[in-house]
Symmetry: C2
Subunit: 264 residues, 2 copies
């Protein structure tokens, strides 16, 4: 039987943290003295404490740690852990993207962007849409586009695109629609016909990987405002050249179109 202080020394977890884990039903002391409230641990709990410690170092939420600890099957448990490691990879990707974007921001801007005003007619497409979290967009896009390609096949008549509600960026969640243009849109699974309304678009093209795309967004926004216009409705993206076309990110071309209207 170990006091909380001894257990703290043996596990390298602070006393406070151990109490918190008790409260959170993550790591219950083997014995709690009913009259004094003193917590007593046993050495068998050291490995459990260490697993928690490691998982917390990986920023696994306490609730997920609890779930992992309560999973008796080692195989299932390994899967849960692997899921978290995958999430870590995703975080890493976003970190890399942010670093790339930051570099672009801190460099002096070489050339002003070219913006074009274009009247876009209404367009009927094969679409997949959903309300998504901003951080999940990439994953969601991959799945949706795979389903679209399977449904449309060779009948595709142009590059893929998407329409993203502004709330997606402002409130971190919002409506997203990705599409493939095709003459007769099918209806299977999540894929269904949709009509993109006619809009007046301020259009520019972002060259390179998506990491720094927010910078282009900012430049487009500046252009819109300086040309006495305002933003209305969801932003459009068209993936003119993307990972499906070439593995060289520097060659990617993404058209960004922001619905605008002239303000007096």
């Amino acid at each position: 039987m170990l006091t909380i202080g001894e257990f703290s020394r043996l596990t390298h977890l602070s006393v406070r943290t151990l109490r918190r884990y008790h409260e959170a039903a993550l790591l219950e002391p083997a014995v709690v003295d009913e009259t004094t409230g003193y917590r007593y641990y046993v050495v068998d709990q050291i490995p459990t404490a260490q697993v928690i410690h490691r998982l917390r170092e990986l920023d696994v939420p306490l609730s997920d740690v609890r779930q992992i600890l309560r999973t008796p099957d080692p195989g299932v448990r390994a899967t849960l852990v692997a899921d978290h490691l995958q999430r870590l990879e995703d975080v890493l990707d976003r970190t890399r993207a942010a670093v790339a974007s930051l570099r672009r921001l801190l460099e002096p801007d070489p050339a002003p962007i070219h913006v074009e005003l274009r009247a876009e007619p209404a367009q009927t497409v094969a679409a997949v849409e959903a309300d998504v979290e901003h951080r999940d967009v990439t994953t969601w896009y991959a799945g949706a586009m795979a389903e679209l390609e399977a449904a449309v096949g060779a009948a595709v008549t142009g590059p893929p695109g998407g329409s993203y509600d502004n709330a997606l960026f402002e409130q971190e969640r919002g409506h997203a629609l990705v599409y493939l243009p095709t003459a007769t849109p099918p209806r299977t699974g999540r894929v269904h016909p949709a009509t993109l309304p006619a809009v007046e678009l301020a259009v520019t093209t972002h060259v390179g990987e998506h990491a720094g795309i927010d910078v282009t967004y900012g430049e487009l926004g500046t252009w819109v405002v300086e040309n006495a216009m305002s933003v209305a409705g969801p932003v459009r993206e068209v993936y003119l050249v993307g990972p499906r076309d070439t593995s060289d990110p520097a060659a990617w071309r993404t058209e960004i179109g922001w619905p605008v209207f002239r303000v007096t």
Copy 2:
């Protein structure tokens, strides 16, 4: 002049977050209407907002973002940013360590460790000591050891070691001492003679990189408790074989000694 909502759409920062940044004096609106309290922004502030957005994605604290933004010299600013990227690298290293440790924990334990009880005599060494944060230990160790090696040179009589207060692990900060054994310890810079007191040590050897060392700590702790002993005083580590000796982490050998005393 842009309202907070328009600025939010242009920068992909939520209205709430923009208000928070105003409050934190990170990104002040160009104009605040005194009677209504309405915030108004200008397009020139878009790049600044984006820099903040990127830095936050990299988990740079708001206070540091503020410092970076207020640094006019681009060179100095680049240094500050580079520092943060370095910190990201460190986080990454710790993540890798945690993953390695986790794997070792989840694997069934192959062999029980060998623990030896040893009466360690007092020892006079060349030392560097300080109160450090747990997360800074690695960096601090590298600097301290470099200084020690420069001061002691060829007069070194054994492998390097360290003595780490338990508070370092329990409260995330505490006293640390690293040393090189030598006959006549010099006194230069942070290097000074120190005496390690005689203690009774429970000693085991951790093989491999430091990532999974906490597992060995746990096993040592279990042994100590099961042999009716208790922990007293700072833990000792001796780096028998380390990165200075071989670049193969699998060959590293770290001796861990925990001062113990027999309890009745």
